[in-house]
Point group: C2
Chain length 694, copies 2
Amino acid sequence: MLDALFKPKSVAIIGASNNPLSIGHIVMQNLLDHNYKGPIYPVNPKSKFIKSFRAYPSVTDIPDEIDLVNISIKNTLVPYVLEECGKKGVKFAIVHTAGFKEVGAEGLRLEKEIVEIAHKHGMRIYGPNSQGVQNSDPEISVYANFTFVPMSPGNISIVAQSGGVGETLKLHLYRVGKGIRMYSSFGNEADVSMNEIIDYYGQDEETKVIMVHIETLKDPSGFLEVASRVTPKKPILALKTGRTSEGTKAVASHTGALVEQETIADAIFKKSGVLRFDTQEDMVDAAIAFSSQPVPKGDRVVIVTNTGGPAIIGVDECISAGLKLAELSSKTKDTLGKLVFKEATISNPVDVVATAGPEQYGGTVEALLKDPNINSLLLVFVTAPFVDCEGIAQKLGEIGKASKKPIVCQVITIEKWAEVIRIIRESGIPVYDFAETAARALSSMTEYGKIAQRKAPLYKEYDVNKTGTEKILSQHRGKEKFLPQDDVFKILRCYGIPTVKSMRIKKKAELDSATLKIKYPLVLKVDAEEIIHKTEVGGVSLNLKDNASLQAAFNRMAEKFEKEKPGFILQEHLEGGKEVIMGAKKNEGVQPTLMFGLGGIFVEVIKDVQFRLAPLSREDTLEMIHSIKGHPILEGVRGEKGVDIDALAEILIRLSQLATDFPEIDEMDLNPVFAFEKGKGAKVVDARLKIVRA
Amino acid sequence: MLDALFKPKSVAIIGASNNPLSIGHIVMQNLLDHNYKGPIYPVNPKSKFIKSFRAYPSVTDIPDEIDLVNISIKNTLVPYVLEECGKKGVKFAIVHTAGFKEVGAEGLRLEKEIVEIAHKHGMRIYGPNSQGVQNSDPEISVYANFTFVPMSPGNISIVAQSGGVGETLKLHLYRVGKGIRMYSSFGNEADVSMNEIIDYYGQDEETKVIMVHIETLKDPSGFLEVASRVTPKKPILALKTGRTSEGTKAVASHTGALVEQETIADAIFKKSGVLRFDTQEDMVDAAIAFSSQPVPKGDRVVIVTNTGGPAIIGVDECISAGLKLAELSSKTKDTLGKLVFKEATISNPVDVVATAGPEQYGGTVEALLKDPNINSLLLVFVTAPFVDCEGIAQKLGEIGKASKKPIVCQVITIEKWAEVIRIIRESGIPVYDFAETAARALSSMTEYGKIAQRKAPLYKEYDVNKTGTEKILSQHRGKEKFLPQDDVFKILRCYGIPTVKSMRIKKKAELDSATLKIKYPLVLKVDAEEIIHKTEVGGVSLNLKDNASLQAAFNRMAEKFEKEKPGFILQEHLEGGKEVIMGAKKNEGVQPTLMFGLGGIFVEVIKDVQFRLAPLSREDTLEMIHSIKGHPILEGVRGEKGVDIDALAEILIRLSQLATDFPEIDEMDLNPVFAFEKGKGAKVVDARLKIVRA
C-alpha cells in the first residue's frame, strides 16, 4: 500500500537548504508552489530556518508524525539518517541521493544497507538515485520531486524509470494543457518497485490511463501479473527503451542491468495486454486521447475535413496503423446530401469543403456519430478565414461532450483562433498538430478496445505422460547438455507431440528388423551426445530408398564416427509437408518463451518469427501463427491447399506445457516440423533439447 | 521564368472587396499586413474604394503595368476578366476561384478555355482552384495567398499540392520560430506546374531546402528531370500522399486524377535523389535541420546528454533510422576524462550528468566535434535547476555557430528557461521536443549527405542486336498480346541475356534431332499464343530424363492441346540455381520500371521486391539487389556459396535497355532466372513478354 508515499499526511525534507540550487531547497519550493496540503518539516542541523520555516536539527526532533521524508544528503550519510527516520516511525523515504548501485560494488553494498535499515523499522525506501513522486489530487497536491514541469490535475498517471523521459512526457502534456494524476520516477528500485506503483495506479479510481517507461524489467513475472490485472480495467501504455542492441548496451551502462530483455519484454506486453510504443511522442499523444475519449468498439474510422489534403494523409496513416475506412450507411449519405454544400464529397473521407459553417460541419459529425458502421472519427479542421470558426468549434464541443464514440482532431490554425482550440479541447476532443498523430492515437485506442474486450484466456492442460518424461530426464539430470534425439523424440511423444516414426539402433545387425517397422524411404542419422550439428558433419543421410543405399550410408557413417562409438537413428523420410519451426526457451523470472516461424531462411534471413510466453491458449497460438508474414504460405498460395493449422496450434500448446513442466529444460527446437494438408496433421522431423542444472 | 509570379513588381486584385470574409479582401489584407513592396490595385466594378485604396472597375483601367493578378470572382466570369488581363499585358494570373477540372467535364472545359485565353496573350495561369504564392524576401514580401499563417524570412521553400498540407507545414515552422523563403500551393496545375516551381526554387540562391507535397505527379518525367538537377545542389524533401490504396482512392476523388502512381513515384524519388517522408512532421522537422545545419559527411553519430533515459531513446531511434554510433577516439576519451565529473559516462552516449555546467557540457561537445570518428551530434539537455543552464546554452550557441558538423538537440525545459531555447536556436542548432525527432532529422541529413556525394550515374549501353529484335517484334506489331516463348527467348538472346538452351519444334519427328542438340534432363512445354499459364493447364513437363519419358510427355500434351495446334519448346532442365525474378513494365510519361526479387513466395507473400526506373547504372542494380530483405540468401547462408550477383546485375541492365528501346513492350517477366555460383552466371528459365500497340 503506497498511500503514505503518494498521499502523505506530512513531509520532512532532510537536506532542506536555503541554497536555491540544492535539491532539498527545490523539493521544498515545489511542495510550496503546488500548495501541498499537509505540514512540511525542513531538516537541517546547521540552519535554524529554511525559508520561513523553522528547521529541525534531526527528523527525531520533529514533534509530529511523519509519513514521508525526502532525502538529498551525501550518500554515505543516508544510512545514519534512515536509522533516525526508522526510529521516528517514518513510513516512506524518497532517497534522491545518487551514488548507490549505479556506481558499482561499493554503491550496491550501501544500497543494500539502507534497505535493510529501512525494513528493520518497517519503513520503505523509494529510490535511491530517484527523482520523486507527485500527486495532483487537489486534496493532497504533493510535488515531492526536484524537477520543474508544473503540475495540474488530470487522469493520466506516469511511472518512468528515467526521470528525463518522465519529464519529457509531462512536458508534452503541460504544453497541450493536459494535467496528470500521479507521477513517479523511482530510480534504482531498491525497494518500492515499478510493479507496485503500476498496481497502485491500477487501483486508483481517478487514474484513467497509465504511461510506463521501462529500461529493464526487474521483476518480469511480477510485471506480467500486475499488468494482466490492470489492462482489462484501464490501458497501460509502455515505452521500453533499449529496443536496439545498441540501445540495450546504453541501458546497461546506465542502470547496471545487463540482460537483453527485448524479446521477453515484448512477449510480456503481448500477454498482459500492454500497448507498446516506439516513441515518447506516440505514447503521450495516445495517452491524451485515452484520457478523455471513449474506447472505440471496432476499427472502422471516418474522416471529416474541410480541406482535402490533410484528410488524405489521415487516410494513409489510419490504414498504415491498421484501421479501416468505414462505409457510410445510405441513411447517413441521405442526411449528408441534404446538409452539405454541393461541392462537398459524401464518401469517406467526407470533405465538407472550406466554406462549411457550423451547420454543415457540425451536422455532418452528428450524422456520422449515429451511423452504426462507424466506430471512431478523425476530424481535420482548418480555420478558414471566411467562415464562423468559433461557431464550428462550439458545435463540435457540444457534440464532443456527448459522444459515445471517440473523436480526435487536427486543427490547422494560429493564435488568432486560440479560442477554437480551447473550446474543442475543453469538450474532451484531443487536438493534434498533425492528422498523422490523430490517426495513430485512434489506432492505439482501437487496439486497446480489442484488448479490453478479449476473454480471459482458457489454458487447456493436455493429458500427458509426465512420469515417462520425468524418467527420461532423470537419466540426464544435473548435467548441462543436449539430449540424444531418441530421448527427445520419446519425450515429445510422452507429451502427445507427433514425430516421424523413428528408432535407435546400435549396430548394423539391427537394420533389418528396423526396416520391418519403418518403411522406405528412410533417413539415417548418427546419434551421439558429442555430435550436435549432425548435418554439417555428414551425420545425416536423407531419402534412402532401398536396402543397398541404407547399408552403404550406415557403413559410411560407422566408419566416419568410429571414434564417438555412436548409436544411429533410423526414421521415416517424409516429403510434401511445409516446414515450420517451433521452439521453447527457459527464462529467468518468468515462464518460458515459445517460438513459431516458417523453417529455414524465413527464420534465418527474413526473421519471420513470433514469440509468446507460456502458457498458451488456443487463441494465442492461432494469433501467433497468423502473425508471421509468411502466414499465407500456410493457408495455401498458388492454388495449394492450406496446412493443418489446428495441428500446429496443438503442438505449440503441448510444447509450452512441456517447457513449463520441467524447469531443467533450457531450450528446445522442433526443426523442422512438417505440416501437412488440413486434416492430415503435422510431425516433428528433427528436434533438439538442452537441459541445464535446474 | 517565374519572377513575375514570385517577385511581382505590382499586384492587382480582381474581386477585391470590403467584405472581410471574401477571398479578395483577405488576399489584399495579407499583402498589406506583410508590407508588400510594390503597388496594389484593387479591381471591383461596384465599389469605388476598397479599404483606403481607390478601386478600378476593370484591370484595363489601371494606369500602370501589372505583373500579377489575384482572381477570386465567380468561375464563369474568369474567362472574361482574363481576356482583359491579357489585353492589359498582365504576366501571371493566380486564379483562386474553384469550380474547374475538380467538378467534372464542364469545369474541365472552362479550365482549358482560360488557359487558351491566357496563352493567346502570352500570360500564364497559376491555378485555378489555388491558394496562391508567397515570397518572404524582404525586398518583395509578397503574400498573395488567402490563408493565415504569418510569414517571416527564412531559407525553406515549400510547394504543396494541397493547401491544407502547405498550411500545416508552414504552421509548424511558425510555431518553432522558423521562417520560410517561398511558398506555393498551385491548385489544379492547369498551366504553371509543380515542376516549374521546383525548378525555380532550385535556382533561387536563398532557398537552402525544398519541401514538396505531392498527391499526383502530373508530369513524372519532368519531375524526374528537374529533381535530378536540383538534388545535387540542395535537398528536396517530399511527402507523397495516397501511399495506401485507400489513400490513393481518396486522392482520386479529391483531385480528379485516377492513376495509381505509388510504385513509380517511389522509383522516381530514388532515382532523382529526393528524400521521401511518410509524415508531415518528419519532413518539416528534417527541413528545420537542413535549413541551418551542415550536411554530415558520414553516418556516425555521437549522443551527448545530461540525463540518461532520453539518450537511450536517442540511441534506439538513431539505430532504427540507419545511423551508427561513433566510437570515441582515445584522444577524445582522454580529453573528456580530464573534463567531466567522475560520475559521467565517457562512451557513446556520453552522459555528462545533470550537475555538468557550461565547462563540462560545452567542453564535451567541443572535444567531440574535433573527433574524426564523429560525423554528427545529437544533444539531450535538461535544464537541471541546480546548474547554470543559460551558461550551457551560451556555450552551445557559440559552438553551434562555428560547427562544421551538424548538431541537433532535444531540450527538456519550460518557459522559465525560454532563453535557453532561444539562444540555442539562434545559433542554428535546431531544438526538438523529443530525442526521436532529433534522431530522425539527423538520419535524413545523413541520407542526403550520401545523395549529394553520389557520382553522376554511368549508363552503360551494351552492344546488342537491335535489328534482330526489331525483326521478331515486327511480326507481332500492332497487336496486344503475349509473344510465344521461342520469340521471347530469341529477343533475350539478341540482348545478350542468357537463357537456358531451348528450341521450338512442331512435330514429334523433330524430337530426335532436337535431343542431339540439348542434353537430358529436359523440359517440354506447350507453346501457343492462346496458352498463357502453361503450368496450370498441364502444359509443362519438368525433368524428363530419357527418351521414353520425353515421348510420353509429348504424346500426352499433343493430345491434350490438339485443338490449339500448338508448337512445343524443348529446353534444358536446370537444377541447383537460386531462383530470382526480374521484370520490366512500361510507364506512361516516364521510363520503364525494372523489378527485381527472389522468386516464388518471396515475391507473392513476403512482397520482397525492388523497383527502379530505367536506365539502370551498375550501382543502381547492385543497390537494388542489395535492398531486398532476402539478399543474404543470394550472398550465401548456412555455408552455401553466394550467387553470381554480377551476372544478375548485367541481366538487369540489359533488360532495362531492351524495355527502353522498344516502346511496344508493355511488360516482361523473367521468371525464374536461375542464379548460379559466383562466376558461373545466371540463366533465364522462363519468360513472358507482352506487347501493346505503341
